[in-house]
């Protein structure tokens, strides 16, 4: 059997190799120590339970002192028989006793193989090794597999993060993030919004971090530092939010009223306001209209070359209803469009007929009355 990775305990290599060659059961003067799992892989902070058999193969009762050697001082162990802590055990001839050995791997430990010995003093020794699978640290850890998310300023960016308590104590983490003003950051644990979580030693918690950029966020890459803090430890994570530009526009009037009255056949001036409500510049904005038949509408200017985010532009529209339009309400539809946006507004136009014909009628009646008065004069016999 080839032994590798014994960098931390080089001086024990020879002895260990020798022992491995002899047998898994260490035997000396009729006393053996036996356990099946002689090399165990474990992460930092793990606790490993061994069951060690001590076998008396001699013909006399053996009363032996027990010890565990080779463990660094940060590692702890307990040796138990039944429910007692012991350091000496007696075994009848031809019988065996079971011992329980519990080894606690510390949190702060280097990666590698740690070998130690269970000794029946002066008689025999059982070499055991623990393969520490990773480097441990006595701290907390906040990590994510995907820390870069993209979305526009109306999207919610959702990150998955894992908070790990690597300390020996239970920790109460308060969760914080540094977001630009107007942004919204929510931590969720088990689908509930939280601001703090409590973690047992050496346990993990899945956190969902929801990030909502503000509506006016300019396009760009934003780094959002997120922290889990306790009095003793802290873990930090940098989230990256890639905010893309959004395109939105609005077509309205200066006072927000989208109704007017007009006379049939006469041109009416309308004030329109184009507003860029997105975060990107809008280019080549065109105005279109959908009108009752034979109505005319022209815009001044016809086209808006570019409109910066958050800016407004004023446009005059000249509406000419058809001369045969009947009085009452008509609906016209105005549209603001470019390849990115398409927004419509319904404009209600109340048509009023010219009072000209009404006055003509009044004039006719007055003429008739005038004729009557002339008649009174002529035939009145006064």
């Amino acid at each position: 059997m080839k032994v590798t990775n014994l960098t931390s305990c080089l001086k024990k290599t020879l002895l260990f190799g020798f022992l491995m060659f002899t047998s898994m059961v260490t035997q000396a003067k009729g006393l053996s120590l036996y356990t099946p799992n002689t090399r165990i892989s474990a992460p930092p902070g793990a606790s490993i339970d061994y069951t060690i058999d001590i076998i008396n193969e001699s013909s006399v009762v053996r009363n032996e002192n027990l010890s565990v050697t080779g463990l660094p001082s940060t590692w702890t162990y307990t040796l138990q028989s039944g429910s007692y802590h012991i350091d000496r055990i007696a075994v009848l001839p031809g019988e065996k006793k079971s011992l329980k050995l519990k080894v606690e791997v510390p949190f702060q430990v280097n990666k590698g193989i740690q070998t130690f010995y269970v000794n029946a003093i002066n008689t025999t020794s059982l070499p055991l090794s623990i393969n520490v699978t990773e480097r441990g640290a006595a701290e907390s850890e906040l990590s994510t597999t995907q820390n870069n998310m993209q979305g526009d300023n109306s999207a919610t960016l959702t990150y998955k993060a894992t908070l790990r308590n690597r300390t020996a104590e239970q920790q109460h983490y308060s969760l914080r993030g540094d977001v630009p003003r107007g942004w919204n950051l929510t931590f969720k644990a088990d689908f509930k919004a939280v601001t703090s979580v409590e973690l047992e030693p050496n346990s993990t918690k899945e956190l969902t971090i929801e990030l909502k950029p503000s509506a006016t966020t300019a396009p760009g890459v934003y780094t959002i530092p997120v922290k889990a803090l306790t009095g003793a430890t802290a873990a930090a994570l940098d989230l990256e939010a890639v905010v893309t530009g959004s395109y939105a526009g609005q077509l309205t009037t200066p006072d927000g009223r989208v109704s007017t009255s007009a006379r049939a056949g006469r041109e009416k001036e309308l004030d329109l306001v184009l507003r860029n409500t997105g975060t990107s510049t809008l280019h080549n904005l065109e105005l279109r209209s959908n009108l009752p038949s034979n109505w005319e509408l022209r815009f001044e200017p016809e086209q808006q070359d570019s409109l910066q985010a958050g800016e407004t532009a004023h446009v005059k529209a000249y509406l000419k209803p058809h001369k045969n339009a009947i009085p009452g309400d008509y609906v016209t539809s105005l549209e603001l469009r470019n390849p990115e946006i398409n927004t419509k507004v319904s404009y209600r136009v109340t048509i009023k007929t010219p009072a000209l014909w009404g006055w003509l009628g009044v004039l006719l009646i007055l003429g008739a009355l005038g004729g009557l008065v002339l008649m009174f004069r002529k035939y009145g016999r006064r």
Binding site: S293, W295, P327, G328, D329, R348, W357, Y379, R382
Partner: protein
Amino acid sequence: MNTIKIPLPSSRPALGAGPFGAMIQKEMADHLRSWRFLLLLGLLVLTCLGSMYAALSSFSSLPPSELAKMEFFFLKLFSISDGSLPSYAIFIGFLGPLLGIALGFDAINSEHNNGTLSRLLSQPIYRDYVLHAKFLAALAISAILLFSLTIVVSGWGLLALGIPPGADEVLRILMFTLLTIAYISLWINLAILFSIVFRQTSASALGSLSVWLFFSVFFNMLIDVVAKHLAPKQFLSEAQAVAFQNFVLNLLRFNPIHLFNEATNIVLMPSVRSTGALTMEQISGTLPGALPVGQSLLMIGPQLTGLFASTIVLFALGYFLFMRREVRSR
């Protein structure tokens, strides 16, 4: 020399004072005491009751959800019916001419036949006072009658519905009443004209009634026949169809009854936006909705002008004939 002052009427006496006022009051009193008037009053009150019953029962037959959506609720009192009886507007449109004829058909010839006309004219009054007083008294009577009926209908409607009319509705109801009075005055003038033309009261009554019958029944039939003959036999474009329809409508508008009905419809139904036929082009993009009072009034301008002008012409004709007539005592 002593001069005796003879009190001559001032050239412009105030209404209700002086001989002219006395004549109007006398004429009105004559009307009010006549059996004829009482009969007409009874007829009109029955009309009012019947049409109100029809309107209210049509309201109660509608589900509340429909009622809640209804616009110009109060105005509908005058124009709605459950089908068992005509609505108030139609009744008044029908009986109005009858009232006008009844108030005017014997205005002059009965005085003439009784020999009172020459006696009247021997009084120190102008001759045209007689005609003016006859017309104004009849007009006043019909105005009082119609306003009372309108108020009764409105009051009853208020009591039955519990919904007050809006300002727009009040204006429209007022317009409707004035329109009806103007319409009745047309028939009063027609009847007075016939009473001047015919010596016999029965002849003038029959003459007026036959004109009324002609316009209410036969005129439209005549136009129908004419329209059928004139109608293009070939396939019509939409514009042609509308133009022809409007041509026929214009022929119909020589009928004062048709003019009155059109005007009534526009006044009582704010959602009506045109009196004539419309092309699809004119309809496209329209939204259903009520017109303001002013716009409705503008729309019926031609109808009102026609009604008023023909009233004035009839009066002028009667005046001309009456003033030129030789009046002798028997």
